[in-house]
């Protein structure tokens, strides 16, 4: 994809049209990576809409590779933008520092991906080039073949049949081992119970208070996820006055004995990493 490709030639390459940028998606990425365009000024939703339109326009011919690539890049841009948009408070504690590093790493990830993509192109050319050469692999000249000793097959017909069975047995495909990934040790449903009980008692509490007794990060995460579920069920109201400030949780679920529904969405064992992410090999 050339950098200066102004018009929208129908070559199947996705181009972006924004208020402050117009051109191939790859170019957009390059500009961002060279700090010539601020990612916070790129309307990602617009980019996504355009891509969807592009895919639709291609009809049944849409390209899986291009779509995958778009997803990767768009997801990273989104991450990047999120990181950029977070308030740049004074770098006081380690969390802020990590955030700043995160931005740079997201950049790094993007650039790295691009680098490997370019290398992949080189590989492809090399493989193509190499495919035009054939090594000499011809059989022995008859007089040389005659030098070979007579073959001895000593396993007998039955042994041979057993060997055939063994050889033809479906081999375990190279495996994706997920055994070591265990089901979450902390149940969101359980933690929701604790949160609900505490809020019914207190009426209102900051998130900090709600997780005071949590003895590990997973429990904190589980309680936060529980809050999201409760919010969806309109059992709590959330309030945060300043960015990164205290999150105030207010119980709005009434006094009734009915427990708000908290799904097991987060408690199910991880699904095998198959559809939508896995690529066609």
């Amino acid at each position: 994809m050339s950098e200066e490709e102004p018009q929208d030639v129908p070559d199947g390459v996705f181009k972006v049209r924004l208020a402050n940028f117009e051109g191939p998606f790859d170019l957009l990425l390059q500009l961002i990576s060279k700090h010539k365009l601020d990612v916070t000024e790129v309307a990602l939703s617009k980019v996504t809409d355009e891509f969807m339109a592009h895919i639709r326009a291609m009809g049944p011919d849409w390209d899986l590779d291009q779509t995958t690539e778009f997803l990767v890049v768009a997801a990273t841009l989104l991450d990047l933008k999120a990181a950029r948009l977070l308030p740049a408070a004074e770098v006081e504690d380690e969390a802020d520092l990590a955030l700043l590093e995160a931005r740079d790493l997201l950049f790094a990830r993007l650039l790295q991906y691009r680098a490997y993509k370019q290398i992949a192109d080189i590989f492809n050319r090399r493989l193509d080039d190499e495919a035009r050469r054939w090594p000499r692999t011809v059989g022995l000249e008859p007089h040389l073949a005659e030098l070979l000793p007579e073959v001895v097959i000593s396993i007998g017909p039955e042994g041979f049949a057993k060997l055939a069975v063994k050889a033809m047995q479906p081999r375990p495909k190279p495996q994706v081992y997920v055994d070591h990934i265990h089901a979450p040790l902390v149940s969101v449903q359980e933690q929701a119970g604790i949160v609900v009980a505490r809020l019914r008692e207190l009426g209102e509490a900051s998130f900090r208070v709600l997780v005071e007794d949590a003895d590990n990060t997973l429990t904190v995460v589980a309680r936060f996820l529980a809050l999201l579920e409760l919010y969806r069920e309109k059992a709590v109201a959330l309030d945060q006055e300043t960015a990164l400030g205290d999150l105030i949780v207010r119980w709005t679920g009434g006094d009734g004995g009915t427990q708000p529904a908290v799904t097991d969405e987060f408690d199910r064992p991880p699904e095998p990493p198959k559809p939508p992410k896995e690529e066609k090999a």
Binding site: V151, S154, A167
Partner: protein, 216 residues
């Protein structure tokens, strides 16, 4: 990644425009059987006389330059041979590491060919889960398998076992090969049936769903 010869990648000339002598050399580098002048004439799109003349010229060049190989006209066709003078080195190479016994990989491949014949190399590779090109070459060289035409859909060369194989196994015919069924674990009995019949279990079938090896 074979390309249609019709649409050549940049920089490649069509066959008819290739320099004749090196084109002959390239082709002869990969042929197993002596190639006839007729065949080469069609292949390279030149008159037969032109081909023959070029082949003779090449053969003379190799001799004049004292190359370790020669181009000989044998059994109606042309083929590269090692030059007789260097037989001591070549024979040493051929004989080193050669035994009467086959390796486990060779035996297994032979077993697959015996029970699935005629079968293509790629299918044997799929069944065995590893590339079997080298092993198949050994089996060919040892005279245990031979070519048996091509698969109509793919053009892939098919292989079958030879009479020499039967002889070495002490069998009178292929029908004397023991049946596989008694050796199959129960669960696999179903597999055995599907092996031949149902296309959805045939990884070579062009339209088979979910074949991870069909990566294009």
């Amino acid at each position: 990644m074979s390309e249609e010869t019709a649409e050549l990648p940049a920089g490649l000339r069509p066959v008819a425009e290739l320099d004749l002598k090196p084109a002959l050399e390239a082709v002869l580098m990969v042929v197993d059987e002596p190639a006839t002048a007729e065949h080469l004439s069609k292949l390279l799109e030149r008159p037969k006389q032109t081909i023959t003349k070029a082949l003779r010229a090449l053969a003379e060049e190799y001799t004049a330059q004292g190359r370790g190989f020669e181009l000989r006209f044998v059994a109606g066709g042309w083929r590269f041979y090692t030059r007789g003078e260097y037989a001591p080195a070549v024979e040493r190479l051929v004989l080193e590491g050669q035994t009467a016994r086959l390796t486990q990989a060779a035996l297994e491949t032979l077993a697959v060919v015996a029970y699935r014949q005629p079968v293509s190399r790629s299918r044997v590779s799929v069944v065995r889960g590893v590339n079997c090109d080298g092993v198949m070459r050994t089996l060919l060289q040892r005279g245990l398998v031979e070519e048996a035409g091509t698969e109509p859909e793919t053009g892939a060369i098919l292989y079958r076992t030879t009479n020499y194989f039967l002889e070495r196994m002490g069998l009178r015919g292929l029908d004397e090969l023991p049946e596989l069924a008694p050796f199959l674990p129960e669960a696999e009995a179903i597999e055995a049936e599907t092996q031949e019949g149902v296309p959805s279990f045939d990884p070579d079938a062009p339209d088979a769903p979910g074949t991870d090896d069909a990566d294009d």
